[in-house]
């Protein structure tokens, strides 16, 4: 990356099919503005995301990971997002314990009607990652 170029993070977003992906879609069709940093991956439920996906992404050099699902109580599969929350807590704790910038991971609840919220989360998270800078794992050879 050239020095004069502004750092634009690459953020992986796991979006659940029923709420958050539709929320992101709504943000698009509503022509809301948010940074082009998000790389969305649609999953059928946020609880589909194995912790390994997030570790792999981080070690592969992604600057941030957003995990988004339906609000608690609104899960299409009734309780998937409760499991997600526990799993995310586990992932985050391990990152914290290893002192590995747990701030690069974010769990957010975004419903299908919350286009503006999606845009807001995307913008704020991108800003936060910009402050953190590049993922140090990006240039580590001996991973």
């Amino acid at each position: 990356m050239k020095k004069d170029e502004e750092f634009m993070p690459r953020i992986l977003a796991f979006l659940c099919n029923w709420c958050s992906y539709a929320g992101a879609d709504l943000a698009g069709t509503s022509r809301l503005k948010y940074p082009p940093s998000i790389l969305p991956i649609r999953v059928m439920c946020s609880s589909r995301v194995d912790p390994l996906f997030i570790v792999k992404a981080y070690l592969g050099g992604i600057d941030g990971v957003l995990l988004a699902g339906c609000h608690p109580g609104d899960c299409h599969y009734e309780k998937g997002n409760y499991y997600t929350r526990r799993r995310f807590a586990l992932i985050k704790k391990i990152f914290e314990e290893l002192d590995m910038e747990a701030d690069r991971l974010l769990l957010s609840w975004i419903s299908a009607s919350e286009g503006p919220k999606y845009a807001k989360v995307a913008t704020e998270f991108t800003e936060k990652i910009k402050k953190l800078g590049e993922n140090p794992a990006k240039n580590k050879i001996f991973l």
């Binding site: 912790p51 792999k56 609000h71 929350r85 807590a89 391990i94 314990e97 290893l98 609840w109 240039n139």
Partner: protein
């Protein structure tokens, strides 16, 4: 279950002999049909778990051997993985092995209905390599250290184990705080009560001295454990330090293979999911400049933390199996204390406690969510 109750048993010759007599008597009365217990191999330089059906072989049984070649939970799981069978089996193991067995039961890898788990106060385990360098010396050293409650020669995770007398199974044999030539038999479940009832052992004796001694040791060890974890955290914290810690890893996956709770028949890290066509590697090498082979060292280690730390019992088998002496078990014990603490869970504490990732509460962990929510 109220506070566990126990009985004082007098040991005629050695404690070891009396424990074996106890098992033999139980088999005579038909309480057990077979017993899983460690036995010294003929050459004398190793110990193996055996399923004893013939009582005459009890003379070679060796409760609480100085080393742990195979984690006992793996032995129990091999016997009962495909169902409980119609034999009543007792297993005499260390507390961490019992706890791993309970974790495996929750993971559907063993059926405990016809099993009786008997734990014993554990003085620790010698590192395998230390023992193998001179087995006879190791035996003596271990006996001496066990007598003096000295853990300096034990596995590093044993030195910081605050659960060395934890009762998780049905029965517990306590030697701490017992008067000379006696030991305690303590029941921890209805199954345990029934068995002692059949053997004519009444649970009316005072076992306060055992409780007091155990409490004392656990508290002391817990302090040591917290300090050790704090020191370790400052040593391996941060990606660079973590890489340094695992630099010598040769990707043999021994730590995973000996782990009692790593039960998957095909590990993700042995599957085709982590094998890529050469173009992919070239692309990775291009974006980073170069990549290491064998790949995925840290990915494997962190993956195991994610998948298994909630069930880790800190037995230290992984560290013993590591050919390049990476302190895997110490790192795992540090991580697992934190992750289990997150859900107020202790691996192997009770069969009734669900695994944290298959349970949930509607209101919890809000600090993990986005502050905007």
């Amino acid at each position: 279950m109220n506070k566990p109750t126990g009985a004082v048993i007098s040991a005629k010759s050695s404690t070891k002999k009396s424990i074996i007599d106890f098992l033999e008597k139980a088999m005579d009365k038909g309480v057990f049909d077979a017993v899983i217990v460690p036995m010294r191999v003929p050459a004398g330089d190793s110990f193996a778990y055996v399923l004893i059906k013939d009582k005459s072989l009890f003379k070679d049984a060796f409760p609480i051997p100085p080393v742990m070649f195979v984690q006992g939970a793996k032995a129990v799981s091999s016997v009962t993985r495909l169902g409980k069978g119609n034999m009543k089996i007792a297993a005499l193991m260390r507390p961490c092995e019992i706890r791993a067995t309970i974790e495996l039961a929750k993971l559907g890898q063993t059926d405990l209905e016809n099993m009786t788990l008997i734990s014993m106060d554990c003085p620790g385990v010698l590192p395998t390599s230390d023992f193998l360098s001179d087995p006879e010396k190791g035996m003596k050293q271990f006996d001496e250290a066990a007598k003096n409650l000295d853990d300096k020669i034990m596995r590093p995770v044993c030195q910081i184990c605050d659960k060395s007398s934890m009762m998780a199974g049905d029965l517990h044999i306590g030697t701490l705080g017992a008067k000379k030539d006696t030991f305690f038999v303590i029941s921890n479940s209805q199954k345990g009560n029934d068995i002692l009832d059949k053997l004519g052992i009444s649970l009316k004796d005072n076992i306060d001295s055992w409780h007091a001694k155990v409490k004392n040791i656990s508290e002391e060890k817990l302090k040591k454990r917290k300090k050790a974890h704090k020191d370790l955290k400052s040593e391996i914290g941060g990606l660079d330090n973590l890489l340094d810690a695992y630099n010598q890893c040769i990707n043999c996956h021994n730590c995973m293979r000996v782990c009692p709770v790593c039960y998957c028949r095909l590990c993700y890290f042995d599957s085709d999911n982590v094998k890529h066509p050469s173009e992919d590697y070239l692309q990775m090498a291009e974006s980073k400049g170069s990549i290491r082979f064998l790949p995925d060292t840290i990915f494997f280690q962190m993956g195991r933390m994610m998948h298994m730390s909630l069930s880790c019992v800190s037995c230290g088998a992984c560290e013993d199996a590591c050919p390049v002496s990476i302190p895997v078990a110490q790192i795992f014990s540090m991580i697992s204390d934190e992750t289990q603490g997150l859900f107020d869970y202790v691996s192997g504490r009770s069969l009734e406690e669900p695994l944290p990732l298959v349970a949930y509460k509607e209101e919890e962990l809000h600090e993990m969510e986005d502050a905007n929510d």
